[in-house]
C-alpha cells in the first residue's frame, strides 16, 4: 500500500519480570535481629507481599571476618561466608510488548536502538546450562515507577562476642568456622529467638528509586537512609520465562458514566482487578527445555515524547497519572499483575521474539500512519478512506481511525480504593465521542435523506398538477371534495411509502458497503413511521375544523387565507412536513455542535473530531438550506400556477394585485411559520433528551427559527410578487 507511510505492528505479550536481585543492609553496630518484609502500594492501600522477605541474625564475633557471623532464615536463598544481611527483592511484573523497531521509531520518535545491544556474555554463559531455546533481549522503560518498599525492623540483641564464640563451641565449630557449617544450623533459629531483644527500630526503605523494571544495579542500604553500590548480591533471570496474560478489566458502567471496578481476587496478598492467566515455567521448577529467557540489554525513555505520544494509538506509552478523586493522591500500579491502572509498556522486545513467545497471530494491532497528511481536510479524509478500503479488502482487521488522540479523564470507582480519575488515551474517549456523534449523525443523515426524497416527490407532484388543465383540477376539487380528500390521503401515503422505500434502499446499499451501521436503518425506519403519522393526524384534525366552519358559515365570514390553507392542505402538507424536517435540522445540528463542543472541545481529540464533523455538518446544512429554498420556491410558485384560475377570477371580480398578494402572503405564513415552530419544538425536545436542556439551547433555537422565518418571508414575498406578475 503506497499511501501508508508507516505501518507499526504491535504485539501485546502480558506481564513479565526481569533480572531479580537481592539487596543488602550494612552491618549494624551490635548483635542484631533484622527482619524485613516487602510492601507494594497502589497509592491508597499498602499490601504486604506474602512469602517474601525473611529474618537475619547478625552476631558479634571479634576478629571474625567483618566482626559478625550470621544466621539466616532457612529457605531464603544463598548463604555465603561473611555475607551481610541480605534479602531477596520480590519479583516485579511489567507490561511488555513486541514491536517492529524501525517502524515504531518512525511512528513515535522514541529511540529503541538499545534493542540491538548484545546480550551480556557473562550472563548468557551462566544460563547456558539450562539450554533455553531462545535468548530474548528486552529493553525497559528507564523512567518508570516501581511501587516497592522494604519494611525492616532492627532489634539490638543482648549478645556479645564471647557468647558467639561460646555458641560455636557448643556446636562443635572452630572460631573461624561460620555457623552454617554446623549440622545443627537448622535448629539454631529456635535457640537464637530466645535471646533478649533490647530495643527495636522500624525502618522504611523506599526501593522505587533503586528498582527499575527488568534490571537494576545492585545496591546496599545504609541505615542513614542512603544507598550505595554493592558487590555482594545474588541475581538471576530464572523467573523470566514465567509471565501473565491479563484480560481487560470487566468494568460496570454506571448511570452517571463512571466505571465500577471490582476486586476479583488476590496475588501474593495484593488485590487483583482483572483476570490473569499464568503462562510459561520457571527455570527453578524445570531445568531443561526452557522455552526462552529474557535478557535485559538496555533502556528506552518516553519522557520527552509525552505530548506527541498522547496521539499514539493504544496509549502504550502514555504516562498521565491516575489520581484519587477526593484528595488528588497519585496512584500506582502494584508490582503484581492485575492492577486496575492501565499502564504504559515497561518492556519492549522485538516483534520476532514476540511472535516466538505468543505463537499464532502474535500481532494485536498495526498502527498505520497515512502518507502526506498535514491537516485534517477533505483530502486527508479521502486518503484515510482509501487506506481503510484497501485494508478492508485484505480483510480480518478491525479498523479504528484515530484522527488525533488525547488523554481524557475517566472516573472509576475501585473496590477498596475509592473513586479515582484515570487518563485514558483517547481510543476509549474517541470511541465515546464518535459514538455519541454517530447517533446524532445518523439522525441527521436520516432526516436529511428524508428531506431530499420528500423534496423530489413533492416536486414531481406539483409538476403533475401544474401540467393538468387548471380548470379541470379546480372543478375536480370543487365538485368532488370528499372523494378528492381520500384520494389525496392515499396519494400522500403512497408517496411516503415510495420515498421511504427509496431512501431505505439507498441506506441499505450504503449498509452493504459498510458505510453506515445497522442503527442507521433502525433510526431511519422510525423516522419513516413518524412521517406516516403526521399527515394522518393533520388530516384528521383539519377535517374536523372544516366541518365546524361548514356549520357556522352563515354566521361569520372566515379569513380568506385561512379558508384557502384548509382547502388546499393536501397540496401543502408534504411541503409542510419537509419544512418541519428542515427546521429540525437547522435547530438540532447547531444545538448539538454547541453542546458537544462544550463537553468535548477541551480535549485535543474532541477538537479534531469536531473539526471533521463540522465539515460534514456544514455540507449538510448548506444542502438543507438549498433544498429548503427550492422547496419553498417550487411549492409556492407551482401552487400559484395551479390556482391561476382562482387568481384571475379574483382579479376579474375587482381584487387588486395587492389584495391577492396579501392573501397569498398570509396563506404562506399560515403554514410556513407553524412548520418552523413545530420543527423547533421537536429539536428542543430531542436535544434536551439526547443532550442536556439549557436555556441557551432554547435561546439558540429561537434565534435560528427567527432567522429562518425572516429569510423565508422575504423569499415568499418576492416569489408571490414575481409569480403574480407572470399570471
Amino acid at each position: 500500500m503506497s499511501s501508508v507511510e508507516i505501518a507499526a505492528p504491535i504485539a501485546s505479550l502480558g506481564y513479565f519480570t526481569g533480572e531479580n536481585k537481592t539487596f543488602t543492609l550494612a552491618y549494624p553496630h551490635t548483635s542484631s535481629y533484622i527482619e524485613t518484609e516487602f510492601n507494594t502500594t497502589d497509592g491508597v492501600n499498602e499490601y504486604t507481599i506474602r512469602d517474601e522477605g525473611g529474618y537475619f541474625y547478625v552476631l558479634e564475633q571479634e576478629g571474625y571476618l567483618e566482626g559478625f557471623d550470621f544466621y539466616k532464615e532457612p529457605g531464603h536463598g544463598y548463604i555465603g561466608e561473611g555475607m551481610k544481611p541480605e534479602f531477596g527483592i520480590p519479583l516485579t511484573y511489567h507490561l511488555t510488548v513486541g514491536v517492529d523497531q524501525e517502524e515504531e521509531e518512525k511512528l513515535t520518535g522514541i529511540d529503541l536502538s538499545a534493542l540491538k545491544n548484545p546480550i551480556p556474555a557473562q550472563l548468557e554463559w551462566s544460563y547456558s546450562q539450562y539450554g533455553a531455546k531462545r535468548n530474548i533481549p528486552i529493553i525497559y522503560l528507564s523512567d518508570s515507577f516501581v511501587s516497592l518498599r522494604a519494611e525492616t525492623s532492627l532489634s539490638e540483641l543482648d549478645w556479645g562476642s564471647e557468647q558467639t564464640i561460646q555458641l560455636k563451641e557448643e556446636l562443635d565449630l572452630q572460631d573461624n568456622e561460620a555457623f552454617f557449617f554446623s549440622e545443627k544450623y537448622e535448629t539454631l533459629g529456635d535457640r537464637l529467638s530466645k535471646i533478649e531483644r533490647l530495643n527495636t527500630e522500624g525502618i522504611k526503605i523506599f526501593l522505587s528509586d533503586q528498582i527499575k523494571p527488568f534490571y537494576y544495579e545492585p545496591f546496599s542500604y545504609n541505615y542513614d537512609g542512603t544507598f550505595s553500590g554493592e558487590e555482594n548480591y545474588s541475581f538471576g533471570i530464572s523467573e523470566t520465562p514465567i509471565f501473565y496474560r491479563t484480560k481487560p478489566i470487566d468494568y460496570t458502567i454506571r448511570k452517571d458514566q463512571t466505571l465500577e471496578v471490582k476486586q476479583i481476587g488476590q496475588d501474593s496478598g495484593v488485590p487483583v482487578y482483572r483476570e490473569i492467566e499464568k503462562q510459561g515455567v520457571s527455570v527453578r521448577e524445570k531445568r531443561e527445555d526452557i522455552p526462552f529467557l529474557l535478557y535485559p540489554v538496555g533502556t528506552f525513555t518516553t519522557k520527552s515524547h509525552q505530548e506527541s505520544l498522547a496521539a499514539s494509538p493504544l496509549g502504550i506509552y502514555q504516562q498521565a497519572p491516575t489520581t484519587k478523586l477526593d484528595d488528588g493522591t497519585t496512584l500506582h500500579e502494584t508490582i503484581t499483575p492485575g492492577s486496575f491502572i492501565s499502564s504504559p509498556a515497561h518492556g519492549i522486545v522485538s516483534l520476532e521474539d514476540a511472535a516466538y513467545i505468543k505463537g499464532d497471530a502474535p500481532i494485536d494491532a498495526i498502527r498505520l500512519r497515512v502518507d502526506g497528511i498535514n491537516s485534517y481536510n477533505e483530502e486527508a479524509i479521502r486518503k484515510i478512506n482509501d487506506v481503510i478500503l484497501d485494508i478492508s479488502e485484505i480483510g480480518g482487521f478491525d479498523i479504528v481511525v484515530v484522527a488525533g488522540a488525547s488523554p481524557s479523564p475517566v472516573i472509576m470507582d475501585v473496590e477498596g480504593v475509592g473513586e479515582v480519575e484515570q487518563s485514558w488515551t483517547s481510543l476509549g474517549a474517541a470511541a465515546t465521542i464518535s459514538e455519541g456523534w454517530n447517533t446524532t449523525n445518523l439522525l441527521i443523515s436520516s432526516v436529511f435523506l428524508m428531506i431530499s426524497i420528500v423534496y423530489i416527490v413533492n416536486h414531481a407532484m406539483f409538476r403533475k398538477y401544474t401540467k393538468k388543465n387548471e380548470t379541470k383540477l379546480l372543478s375536480d376539487i370543487g365538485w368532488k371534495v370528499r372523494h378528492i380528500k381520500q384520494f389525496h390521503l392515499i396519494e400522500n401515503y403512497l408517496l411516503i411509502i415510495f420515498s421511504g422505500i427509496l431512501g431505505g434502499l439507498i441506506l441499505f446499499i450504503l449498509y452493504l458497503f459498510n458505510l453506515v451501521s445497522s442503527i442507521t436503518l433502525v433510526i431511519y425506519l422510525i423516522i419513516v413511521l413518524l412521517t406516516f403519522l403526521i399527515p394522518f393526524l393533520i388530516i384528521v384534525l383539519v377535517k374536523n375544523k372544516l366541518r365546524s366552519t361548514n356549520r357556522f358559515n352563515g354566521v361569520k365570514f372566515k379569513k380568506v387565507w385561512l379558508k384557502n390553507v384548509l382547502f388546499y392542505k393536501k397540496l401543502i402538507i408534504l411541503c409542510f412536513l419537509q419544512l418541519i424536517f428542515v427546521t429540525f435540522l437547522f435547530n438540532f445540528v447547531p444545538a448539538n455542535l454547541f453542546v458537544t463542543n462544550q463537553s468535548t472541545g477541551d480535549t485535543n481529540l474532541g477538537v479534531f473530531i469536531n473539526d471533521l464533523i463540522l465539515i460534514l455538518i456544514l455540507v449538510i446544512l448548506v444542502a438543507t438550506l438549498y433544498i429548503a429554498t427550492t422547496t419553498i420556491i417550487d411549492s409556492i410558485s407551482s401552487f400559484l400556477f395551479i390556482r391561476k384560475e382562482e387568481i384571475l377570477t379574483l382579479r376579474d371580480i375587482g381584487w387588486r394585485v395587492k389584495d391577492i398578494h396579501n392573501t397569498f402572503m398570509k396563506e404562506s405564513i399560515a403554514w410556513i411559520i407553524p412548520s418552523f415552530i413545530i420543527g423547533m419544538a421537536i429539536s428542543i425536545i430531542i436535544s434536551s433528551t439526547v443532550l442536556t436542556f439549557t436555556v441557551e439551547l432554547v435561546f439558540l433555537s429561537i434565534c435560528i427559527t427567527l432567522l429562518l422565518s425572516i429569510g423565508s418571508m422575504i423569499l415568499v414575498y418576492n416569489l408571490i410578487k414575481r409569480t403574480l406578475k407572470k399570471i
Binding site: 370543487g478 365538485w479 371534495v481 356549520r551 358559515n553 352563515g554 382547502f567 379574483l650 371580480i653 375587482g654
Partner: protein, 222 residues
Amino acid sequence: MILLKNINVTYPSLEKPILKNINLHIKTGEWVSLVGPSGSGKTSFLKVISGKLDTVEGNVIIHETDINGLSAHKRHEFIRRHVSTVYQQFRLLPQFSVLENIMLPLIPHENKKRIQSRARELIDEVGLTHRVTHFPHQLSGGEQQRVAFARALITDPSILLCDEPTGNLDTNNRDIILELLTQIHKKGKTIILATHDEIVAKKGKNILTFHEEDVHKGEVVL
C-alpha cells in the same frame, strides 16, 4: 352611458384586428344583445368595456371617463366600481360558501358586516336564501349562476356584462336567469349580453350582430 370611438382591437399574436373601427353609443339602462358565431369577437367586445384588454385603440368612454386613457391601476379601480361581469363557467371559488362567494369582491375594500347584509339581500333577490351556507359543488348549474349574478351585483355596478350566461344551462334554468335579468334591467342597469341563444338574444332591446368578416364598420347608435 358607454361611448366607443374608433375602437380597434388587435391581439399581439394575430395580424388582423379582431374588432375594427367600432363607433358605438350605448345609453344607460339599455339591454344590448351580442350575437354571432364563435370567434366573431363577442367576448373581446365585452373585454373592451370591462377594460381587460391592453391592446385597445380608440376611446372607451364610460360615464364621461375614457377608461382607455387611464393607468392600469386606475382603470381597474374604475371598472370595479361601475362594471361587473357574469361568465358562462360561473367562476365561483370552491373553497367558499355561497354567501362568501357573493361577498368576495368587496372583501378587500369594505367592512365585512356591511358587505354581509348586502350579500344577504342579494341572496334573497336571486332566490337562494336556503342555500346561504352551501358550497358551489352542492348547487345546480342554475343556482351557481344565480350566485354569480349576486356576486356581480354586490358592487352595485351600473353596467352588467354577461358572456353567454345561459350557455351551460337547461331551458328551465335559462328562464330563471332571464327573469332575473329582467328584474335587474328594471332597476336601471345597463346590460350587455353575449349569447348564442335566440330567445335570450331577443330579450334585448337591441341586437348587435357580429360577423367574422369585418362587420363593425360605420357608426351605430343604439
